[in-house]
């Protein structure tokens, strides 16, 4: 990898570390019942969201999955708003209506948090259509997992985006498993880029454990999209270090496989590279971890202090107009 400046390097590292520590804290908070429902951690996949988001501008749209804390933080949603959402508090980024799987922030064009696997893809196509029709130069980045590739919505959405040459960047987080089902057990043909190309969307696979590689590939792809060449797909090969969700006993993956992937930890990997180039010293790392810990603490404090939405407002915002309240 060609390293960026020290400043950029530290920024990427800070972003990945923030996600990592945030997720670790979320896991703890889940075990004590502060966070409930389903919780899907992004640990191990940090380089994907952080790398891909580098290629986006504030005018671009993001459509995310239910494993989206990393996507949300990398997009710039404040950790406190995300944590408060997972607490179900009214200061959460979805006012406590969505929880872990449904983070939204319209000011950052972060259009959720989708828990129907594959359900975000058509929405992303539509957002891109709206931009195209309004002659806005934005890109819509749509995240989804390898599991979503099996859903009809994948083929349908790629075809439609390609047919209409819409500005969509499809980002497949291929972590090799859909819950307990390994890629080769849910796909007869496992090359996702080949599928994209058969649908008319040029694609590129990239090492999803390497933040710089993801960034570079995302920049290349979004440049093509911005140039009006139609949609692109990025397949980031990655791995989740934790179980699918907090409910999952993770019986379907071999310990050795997990350990093998952990050896290419995107954070450890990047730290070593920065260190080797003399861009990072121990004190930097300590300072960074300290700052991130403080951010996460602050996020938790914000969530703890946040108010509950009044029960009387239960029916608010089912409709935009107030007539059915």
């Amino acid at each position: 990898m060609t390293l960026p400046s020290r400043e950029r390097g530290l920024d990427l590292l800070r972003q990945m570390t923030r996600i990592r520590r945030f997720e670790e804290r979320a896991a703890e908070l889940y075990t004590v019942g502060k966070i409930r429902g389903f919780l899907h951690l992004y640990i191990g996949e940090e380089a994907v969201a952080v790398g891909a988001m580098q290629a986006l501008t504030p005018d671009d749209n993001v459509v995310a999955t239910y494993r989206e804390h990393g996507q949300a933080l990398a997009r710039g949603i404040p950790p406190g708003a995300v944590m408060a959402e997972m607490y179900g508090k009214a200061n959460g980024c979805s006012r406590g209506h969505g929880g872990s799987m449904h983070l939204f922030d319209v000011s950052r064009r972060f259009h959720g948090g989708h828990a129907i696997v594959g359900g975000g893809l058509p929405v992303a196509v539509g957002l891109a259509l709206a931009d195209a029709l309004q002659k806005r130069a934005a890109v819509t980045a749509c995240f989804f997992g390898d599991g979503a590739v099996a859903e009809g919505a994948f083929a349908e959405s790629l075809n439609l985006a390609a047919l209409w040459r819409l500005p969509v960047l499809f980002v497949c987080e291929n972590n090799l498993y859909a819950m307990g089902t390994a890629l080769a057990r849910h796909q007869a043909q496992t090359d996702i880029v080949r599928k994209a190309e058969a649908a008319g969307v040029p694609g590129q696979a990239v090492d999803g454990m390497d933040v710089l590689a993801v960034e570079a590939a995302a920049r290349l792809a979004t440049a093509a999209v911005r140039a009006g060449q139609g949609p692109r797909l990025l397949e980031a090969r990655t791995y989740r270090f934790r179980a699918h969700s907090m409910y999952d006993p993770d019986l379907y993956r071999a310990k050795e496989e997990i350990e093998r992937w952990k050896a290419s930890d995107p954070i450890g990997h990047f730290v070593a590279a920065l260190r080797a180039e003399g861009l990072l010293v121990d004190a930097d790392l300590a300072a960074l971890e300290h700052a991130v810990a403080a951010e996460v603490d602050a996020a938790v404090a914000e969530a703890e202090a946040g108010p509950w939405e009044p029960v009387e407002d239960l029916l608010k915002d089912v409709y935009t107009a107030a007539e059915r309240r």
Partner: protein, 327 residues
Amino acid sequence: MTKMTYRDAARSALRDALRGDPRVFLMGEDVGRYGGAFAVSHGLLAEFGPERVRDTPLSENTFVGAGVGAALGGMRPIVEVMTVNFSLLCLDQIVNNAATLRHMSGGQLSVPLVVRMATGAGRQLAAQHSHSLEGWYAHIPGIKVVAPGTADDARALLLAALREPDPVFVFEHAALYPMEGEVDATGGPGEIGRALVRRAGTDLTLITYGGSLPKTLAAAERLAGEGIEAEVIDLRSLRPLDTATILASIARTHRALVVDEGWRTGSFAAEVSAQIMERAFYDLDGPVQRLCSAEVPMPYARHLEDAALPQPATIAAAARAMLGRDG
């Protein structure tokens, strides 16, 4: 007022919407070159061009979901799903996204999406093209549901749908497209959530909507010939439901028959009946009755299809029976 078919009236609303608001566009299977499966959008491609009248591939879930996304992105999409049976392919995007995104995002998003589809039987299209599932849609919080039963409403309710900030589903009855009626061809939007008394009467209230409206009015004519004066309410909007108009009528007539082309069990007619029960029980001189479609996948053969559907004769017979006037 101009004499016009239900089809032409719907088209006039589409045309006005496309002319009046650059954010409006139409998409769906064969809405463009082909001119629409039911010819509703005939001529619009020529007038508005392929950017605004967009033929889609056969991908219901995706083009409806794309409608949701385009609405989030500031457009005012009108999506045509050819037939309600095909909409079963896109219910995920409808329930899990269109209806849900606003509330689930804590009120940050709005989805100003209009989805039009043909519903209902009567054209011998058999069991994969003929059902009436608008009652299901009326169950979903976050959306609105209208069902025009007159040519004028085919225009007015579609225009109204386009003014809503939330998703509206417009169910056009496939058998009504060729029906002519008086249309206010330059008129504005109707009111969503407002039922209309289409015929005044004193002996009982016939409550219906959509494709059953003309049949119910025909039944009321027959009954009038027998000295029975039926009031006919056209619901027009299933969600929200104008319960006030229903209750006011029942306060006068004390009896109600709900006519609904959906299958009986779990029909929208059941909801109407339940609401009357809850809110007008002591006004009733007898139980509210329902006349619905037979619970069978719609058969092709004409005599069987006819027998499966509410008809003027069966509506009139049910009304007579409620008044103790059978046979």
